[in-house]
């Protein structure tokens, strides 16, 4: 029996049958990337964003510096100044170096007011190294990847 199996290459045909079965078009898995954009999960940790209050356009950030302290790579720099009229700290600049970021989400967890958030944007390529260091404006507006027509 085993000799017959050997002569008629049963083991090889068994494997070939598996590969043949998997050729069916319903098993196609390839994503046509620029044309067909992947839908990432809701909790995806991508490009950082500094949220603004949609009603009045003011930033939600209270400049508490907790994100900068939580960051393992210390890539967040927050500066603020005291408003004498309201006696509160107000955010002046917020720098986030995405080239060193590993998207661990610790800054997002540390934020007490949900101002800093890692969003679902994942296209963050730039042509320069300086372009990877995001200032407050970029963080509020988010990345603007090129949309290709295909």
């Amino acid at each position: 029996m085993s000799l017959l199996k050997k002569v008629f290459l049963v083991d090889l045909f068994q494997g070939l049958w598996v590969t043949f079965r998997n050729q069916h078009p319903k098993y196609i898995y390839t994503e046509q990337y620029p044309a067909e954009r992947p839908k990432v999960a809701e909790r995806y940790r991508g490009a950082p964003r500094l949220n603004i209050n949609p009603d009045n356009g003011e930033t939600l950030c209270i400049a508490c510096n907790l994100c900068a302290l939580a960051c393992p790579e210390t890539l967040i720099v927050v500066t603020s100044e005291r408003n004498e009229a309201t006696k509160r700290k107000e955010l002046t600049t917020f720098t986030y170096d995405t080239s060193r970021c590993m998207f661990c989400g610790l800054c997002e967890d540390a934020c007490p007011v949900d101002a800093l958030e890692l969003t679902q944007d994942f296209e963050m390529a730039t042509y320069t190294r300086e372009g990877q260091i995001w200032d407050r404006q970029t963080l509020e507006e988010g990345p603007k990847p090129t949309q290709y027509k295909c």
Partner: protein, 370 residues
């Protein structure tokens, strides 16, 4: 040794790697050859050294957590679990039952993902091109569950010290059930492709034999040890994270050759599905975070915890001097220890066997070099 070489030629020294595709990363192996026969090997490691243990000394306990994912990046969740358990032991924190259960599910899913990548690349090394596509296809489904759960696919940072950061998403249980149901026929498919395939059997049977006693001498753990007939699995021997609650077998084989290690890993994937199926039906309600303060500051002391990672025994040794940063952090990576048995396994084999043996050891160079 050189006077008995083939056609009286001199011993040939050949470099394999660090850019060789079948050394699974940046491993450099210096081969001493007599024609096609390997007389000895010499491993040069350190091309991927990032000083992770030293980084640990300069980060707080919570900040170091994402770095451990980058050691064995194929099984990041297992690494995270080991580190979290070590710090929890240092803090003597009780992890809630719900968190433990979710941790077990994700770790077992990660074991499947790791074994799938191993199977695909190992088969690719041997010359079977097809399995790698199927394996990566199935791995994708596991990674999608990770992405839905914690927001990242590879370096997940899924667990936090004391429990979990994220609550399970809606439909998590159903996703795991669907995966289990869908995945088992796929394992049968791989077995159909490979187990009886004469090329596969011919290339693997009797290659790289390592007996149980030799495994113990070298400190080799994981599927390599179990394929040599030693029934040792930390999940059973020193249960952690509630593994004692689940029913599963430790697959073992006797010969300790490359083929047996393949069989053991295939069986392990089935056992992982079995554990996940039990765990997902028994996720208790309750909190997901233990009593851990905002600033993690353990008392002076030390803790060692070892877990059964997909590649073997993964140990974390943390020494605290009472500050917010570890005084010393040592990792016992399974790949690093398993790799030293390479010379013994290769001895007397052919160059092609070296490729098969590196594949069967299932090393990840991020973990070897740390």
């Amino acid at each position: 040794m050189s006077e008995t070489t083939f056609l009286d030629s001199t011993e040939l020294v050949l470099n394999m790697g660090p850019q060789h595709p079948s050394t699974h990363g940046v491993l450099r192996v210096i081969l001493k050859l007599d024609g096609e026969k390997v007389l000895g090997t010499d491993c040069v490691i350190g091309y991927l050294h990032r000083g992770v243990e030293k980084i640990g000394e300069n980060r707080t306990y919570a900040q170091f957590n994402p770095y451990v994912d980058r050691m064995d990046y194929v099984a990041a969740i297992s690494n995270g679990l080991g580190y979290c358990l070590a710090v929890e032991k240092l803090l003597s924190v009780e992890v809630p039952a719900r968190a433990q259960c979710v941790r077990v599910i994700l770790t077992e899913l990660n074991r499947i993902a790791s074994h799938l990548l191993w199977l695909g690349t190992h088969a690719l090394d041997i010359g079977a091109i097809t399995p790698v596509f199927y394996c990566l296809r199935e791995r994708e489904e596991a990674l999608k569950i990770f992405e839905k759960y914690c927001g990242a696919r590879l370096t997940t940072h899924a667990f936090r010290i004391g429990g979990l950061q994220y609550e399970t998403y809606d439909g998590f249980e159903q996703d795991i059930r669907d995966f289990n149901k869908w995945f088992l026929p796929k394992v049968d498919e791989y077995e159909e492709l490979l187990t009886n395939n004469r090329i596969w059997v011919g290339r693997l049977k009797g290659v790289g034999i390592l007996s149980g006693d030799e495994c113990k001498e070298y400190g080799v753990t994981g599927p390599v040890l179990r394929a040599a007939g030693v029934k040792w699995d930390i999940r059973k021997a020193l249960p952690y994270s509630g593994y004692e609650k689940y029913e599963f077998d430790i697959p073992i084989r006797e010969n300790g050759d490359t083929y047996d290690r393949y069989i053991v890993r295939m069986q392990e994937m089935r056992q992982s599905v079995r554990i996940m199926a039990q765990a997902v039906e028994a996720i208790p309600e309750g909190p997901i975070m233990g009593k851990v303060g905002k600033v993690i500051k353990p008392a002076v002391g030390e803790a060692y915890v070892s877990i059964e990672a997909p590649k073997g025994e993964l140990g974390y040794y943390v020494v605290s001097d009472g500050s917010t940063q570890p005084y010393r952090l040592r990792v016992r990576p399974p790949s690093f220890v398993n790799l030293q048995a390479l010379d013994r396994m290769v001895a007397g084999g052919l160059i092609a066997d070296v490729v098969a043996i590196i594949g069967t050891l299932d090393i990840v160079l991020g973990e070897v070099d740390r």
